[in-house]
Symmetry: C2
Subunit: 75 residues, 2 copies
């Protein structure tokens, strides 16, 4: 089953796969005409295809930010 | 196709669905015996079932944190 998606705002590219050109992105995405939600997902270079991902409400994104800020993410 | 998953560390609960008890969580998860990666996903109360989600490397999580810090997530 294919659901129409529209990226209403590109927020950030989290990584890029040099071989395939696919990117993991943070965007605002509207799915099936619903109001846009924050969305973390892999996208094909032309954005015609997308992988699985996670959708976040503002409250969830805020909680995620707090959690990430408490983490040591240095290499 | 069912892939074995193991939550190796619970980092944060991002939200809880009062009706179903499902939670959106940030965890370190090992999939199919691979080294654990950061993982944002919905989980059933008993963690026996999971929804779709996003897996993040440390570098991606760091980039995500930076992007979220630039955003106004207040209501």
């Amino acid at each position: 089953m294919r659901i129409e998606s529209e990226i209403t705002e590109c927020v950030a590219v989290l990584s890029m796969n040099e071989k395939t050109g696919w990117q993991k992105e943070l965007n605002y995405v509207s799915w099936g005409g619903d109001p846009p939600k924050l969305d973390i997902r892999d996208w094909a270079p032309d954005h015609e295809k997308a992988g699985r991902g996670a959708r976040l409400t503002k409250a969830e994104a805020k909680r995620l930010r707090e959690a990430l800020e408490e983490m040591d993410l240095e290499d």
